[in-house]
Amino acid sequence: MDTLLPVASGGAAGPLTADELRELYSLMVAVRHLDTSAIAWQRQGIIPGYAPELGQEAAQVGSGYAVDTTRDFVFPTYREMGVARTMGVDMVAYMSTHKATWHGGLYNPMESRLAPIQAVVAGSVLHAVGWAHGQTLDQQDGVALTYFGDGASSQGDVHEAMNFAAVMKAPVVFFVQNNGWAISVPTERQVAGGSVAARAAGYGIPALKIDGDDVVAVLEATRRAFAHARSGNGPVLIEAMTYRRGPHSTSDDPGRYRSLDEERDGAGIDPLERLRQRLLAEGIADEAFFAEALAAAKAEEEQIRTGIQALGSRPGTEMFDLVFQETTPALQAQAANWREESEHV
């Protein structure tokens, strides 16, 4: 049995409105369609690689929806396209990382409140703690939301981050998407004790272990966590149980480590279908709305794909110009040499 410390209640909003529920559905459809299209882009040679998030739409849209971009800051990994889309980040600029245009993406992280795409597993979890402590020092009320997975929970940096955040009472929400797989290694071979949320108690951090495929549960939990952290109660951990329905990346071959039967059993009901059934049952949306949402998602994907295809390479001078704020003579000399010896001036 997990013994999770309680999250302070109060400050959380009431039940979701019909408009909010419909918006969540539209976002999830947009993310689903862009995500599955990105795999097609890769197969068509439009982008060299992609890390799909199929099945994690509820976890990403639900948590990203709780963010207040006027004061909070989000620290993603490389698989948070759904969070970026929900936060309103320019998706051509975001997807450019998968076009191999620029590692961190072309979006402005400071303006979008989304840190650059992070390829180091657990690399940015400590950054969230530092940023959050800065809020404390500045007497501001922003909250840092940091994403990581069940695999990343094995990294020492996650332990250090949770300990630092708890000691400093930093306003951080640790959002774990436990999707069952770290490339080929299942959670039971990864997470001793079977639960990342259970570990939070060891740091004195309240935790919520939730159904990550229920977008409403995810949003409500994240809002509670934000309210808790914003009120000066320190960090919260949310473990959203979900399932990575697709491969780790477009280079991965899940057939080598899990069967189709295992995949079907582990995945359970599609989170998008779950929300659809709920909206139908509650009379909040009808088939016309769903068709309209899908059409909008398709139009959006087409626009993003056109933008990605039109994206040229960055000028090579940026390799040199963006290393430092204050460049060095050695770097200038190398840049001059490169210019002289290369054709693409």
Binding site: W102, N108, L126, G130, G134, F164, P329
Partner: protein
């Protein structure tokens, strides 16, 4: 890892001027490097309300070397604070603080303790400006008590400059005396880029004159190397604690009529190639001295820079007098490892006696 042995070393320091405040007007003062660094940090905190100092034991204790002594009492526990004992955590949180508009001045207690933080230093701090296309500068000044010479336990005497200098996105600097320590730290701690500030811990308690008003009386650049002694026959290139040793060597060599120039490199990245060129064009001979192991040490980089610009005028190949390719030894063998006066003199002799053909 116990630091109790090292804390005893502080007893040899003179603490009469430990807390020289920012308001002290005297332009030239005799002080130890520990006092000079303390004063520089005091002034940085006073000048920049966004500067914050943190690390293991930096707060109430003032650091195991007392470099931050009195700063928490003066500037408050929000500006100068202790962290849990985890170097990756210290450097990782520096990234977030920098994003939030602060100028973090973290301390890694000893050189060898930087290894657990390498991922954050190399993969995060050094690359964030680049990754974010210049929108997230990392004005982080990482202070690292460095090099050997104090009979310390294992992992307390490492020379990591080549490792740091090899990482794109980092700058590396090391002061050789109290005056340099004061000015270089004040300069480094106001830069918008990450700087690894390597303090020669064996020099913490040696005193010297600090002219707070002027860094380079000769008009040199704060990012450049500095000629510490002019000479005609050979250039000794060094940094950190090796500079004063090379100055000693130069005095001894002068007794034999050998006129040696000593160049304090100061910045190990970027290296002041122009200063190397100017000095060796004149002397036509060079020996580079460092504590770090020989292979792929910074001496190789210095030798290549000299060779490239002075090939036609060099009288002999650039010689290296360095530590060995061995793990840094225990205190009893430390003097065998660190370049000593005799070994540096042998290196000089090899260069001076070189005959072509």
């Amino acid at each position: 890892m116990s630091n109790s042995i090292l804390e005893g070393a502080n007893a040899t320091g003179d603490d009469t001027a430990t807390n020289t405040a920012a308001d002290s007007p005297a332009p030239t003062t005799v002080m130890s490097m520990q006092q000079a660094l303390n004063r520089a940090l005091d002034e940085v905190l006073a000048d920049n309300p966004k500067a914050v100092i943190f690390g293991e034991d930096c707060g109430r204790l003032g650091g195991v070397f007392r470099i931050t002594d009195g700063l928490q009492a003066k500037h408050g526990a929000q500006r100068v604070f202790d962290t849990p004992l985890a170097e990756s955590g210290i450097l990782g949180m520096s990234v977030g603080l920098a994003m939030a508009g602060f100028h973090p001045i973290p301390e890694v207690q000893f050189d060898g303790f930087a290894y657990p933080a390498i991922n954050q230093i190399v993969c995060q701090i050094a690359r964030m400006n680049y990754r974010s296309r210049g929108t997230m500068p990392m004005p982080i000044t990482l202070r690292v008590p460095s090099f050997g010479g104090i009979r310390a336990p294992e992992h307390h005497g490492e020379s990591l400059e080549a490792l740091f200098a090899h990482v794109p996105g980092l700058k590396v600097v090391s002061p050789s005396n109290p005056h340099e320590a004061y000015h270089l730290l004040k300069y480094a701690a106001t830069r918008p880029d990450p700087v690894i500030f390597m303090e020669p811990k064996s020099r913490y308690w040696q005193k010297g004159e600090v002219d707070a008003a002027t860094h380079d009386a000769g008009g040199g650049s704060p990012t450049g190397a500095k000629v510490m002694r002019e000479g005609r026959h050979l250039t000794l290139v060094a940094w950190g604690a090796m500079v004063s040793r090379c100055l000693q060597v130069a005095e001894l060599a002068a007794e034999d009529g050998i006129d040696i120039e000593v160049l304090d490199l100061r910045w190990l990245k970027p290296i002041d190639a122009e200063a190397l060129t100017a000095s060796v064009r004149k002397t036509r001979r060079a020996v580079v001295v460092h504590e770090a192991p020989l292979t792929s040490g910074l001496g190789a980089e210095v030798a290549q820079l000299i060779t490239q610009s002075c090939f036609d005028t060099l009288k002999a190949a650039v010689e290296r007098v360095t530590g060995f390719d061995v793990p840094y030894p225990s205190g009893d063998l430390e003097d065998e490892y660190i370049p000593n006066i005799d070994r540096i003199l042998f290196g000089i002799q090899r260069v001076l006696e070189y005959k072509r053909g």
